[in-house]
């Protein structure tokens, strides 16, 4: 019995982190769906939902006004969701021909703010962007080019995490960058095969016709909107030349909070779109289960793996048990190392996937 639990758990964990990427690699080698890009210039609405973003909004609006896209074909909609820190004053400074400010004094959540923005948007293409990240000037043009392909309904930009603490800033390296690059590698392969399972919340674009209002209190609009569009038979593709930049989280606790929110959003998604779990309805069923559901299940299989191994302490299993114990002790030591580092006020960036 213990042996069966051990191997089922081992295979599941191995599949989620290694087997699935290897399967994607093979799948992509066999079937690679191109995206037929074209240079066209539809009217675009850039939508920014903001709650309390006084510190970031000014730079974000200026960043959007510097985008390489015809001014007469671009509008920026800032949808304010009950801000209490003066965010409205910042937004109002830019209100005018290109920037529309929608202010709702009562905090009702990001989904409600996006619904209001979309009701006012005139664009044929909607670009969603968060208030915090900076985007590169050609980003909108690149997203729009991929949307020209009629099989594509959503184009996700690339989020680049910068290590702002290093001398010369660059893409985050070490454990941080490694994990994030692994995550982006998986997304790129999923995109080549059919669709990425969700978009990058910091920057993604959709064709307006595919948008339907979001349920109140939706946590992951950047997964729900793309997955709805996938269920309509369209693709969600990854466009690495449309870039959003952010800094990696300063400390594990911050990243942990972000992560809990994202993963709770995945549970919510399953109740909002249960058909994602029906292989006959979801064209990216295998990708969704392997990438999203798998990550939710892994901790329980890890626990089962360890517990089952406790009853199998001979020969080969003893070695595996030793490796598991060493792994968890290393994790504990990693925590201590980070604590001592933050006590010395030399916080290093820290991040892990699910963005």
């Amino acid at each position: 019995m213990a042996e069966a639990i051990f191997w089922i758990s081992f295979v599941t964990v191995f599949y989620v982190y290694c087997g699935y990427p290897l399967l994607l690699l093979l799948w992509r080698w066999m079937i690679r769906k191109p995206v037929y890009k074209a240079d066209w210039e539809p009217f675009v609405s850039v939508v920014i939902a903001a709650h309390n973003e006084r510190e970031h909004l000014d730079a974000k609006i200026r960043n959007c006004l510097e985008l390489d896209y015809p001014r007469d074909k671009l509008e920026i909609i800032v949808s304010l969701d009950g801000p209490t820190d003066g965010t409205e004053d910042v937004a109002r400074r830019y209100e005018g021909k290109e920037v529309t400010v929608i202010h709702r004094p009562v905090h009702a959540g990001k989904a409600a703010a996006l619904n209001r923005a979309l009701a006012a948007a005139r664009g044929e293409v909607i670009v969603f962007a968060d208030a915090r990240q900076q985007i590169n000037p050609p980003a909108v043009r690149e997203l729009v080019a991929a949307l020209h392909d009629p099989s594509v309904g959503v184009v996700s930009g690339e989020l680049i995490l910068l290590d702002g603490t290093s001398q010369g800033a660059g893409e985050a390296s070490d454990a941080v960058g490694m994990y994030w690059r692994y995550e982006k590698w998986i997304r790129a392969m999923e995109s080549d095969i059919h669709s990425v399972v969700g978009a990058t919340g910091a920057l993604y674009a959709i064709r307006r016709e595919f948008f339907t209002p979001l349920p109140d209190h939706t946590i992951l609009d950047d997964v729900l909107i793309p997955m709805r569009i996938v269920l309509l038979g369209k693709r969600v593709v990854f466009e690495p030349s449309a870039r959003a930049y952010d800094l990696v989280a300063c400390c594990p606790e911050v990243e942990f909070g972000r992560k809990v929110r994202t993963l709770a959003g995945n549970y919510q998604l399953l109740t909002q779109l249960p058909e994602l779990l029906f292989p006959w309805r979801n064209p990216v069923f295998l990708q969704f289960v392997s990438h999203k559901v798998g990550r939710l299940l892994v901790p329980y299989f890890l626990a089962a793996l360890f517990l089952a191994n406790c009853f199998l302490l001979q020969g080969f299993y003893l070695v595996l048990f030793g490796l598991q114990v060493a792994w968890y002790l290393s994790a504990f030591a990693g925590r201590l190392a980070l604590q001592s580092r933050s006590m010395n006020h030399v916080a290093k960036p820290f991040v892990f996937g699910h963005r």
């Binding site: 730079a59 209190h217 901790p299 290393s330």
Partner: protein, 65 residues
Amino acid sequence: MKNALRIPYAFVLMNWAAVVSLYYFLRRGNDIGQDIWTMPFHTHTHSEPPQGEDKPLWTAVRQLN
């Protein structure tokens, strides 16, 4: 060496986050989005620099470009 230890720590913490997220979801059901911002561990992503100093993200993007 310390950097190497961050990998298992990140892995364990990431999986612990999945357990905690299930706890919150089961407690609040589909309304979880309503109070997700007030969860005790939710903090701002980056601490802001003192007034007058440049924001770290803009500095980093500028250096990159």
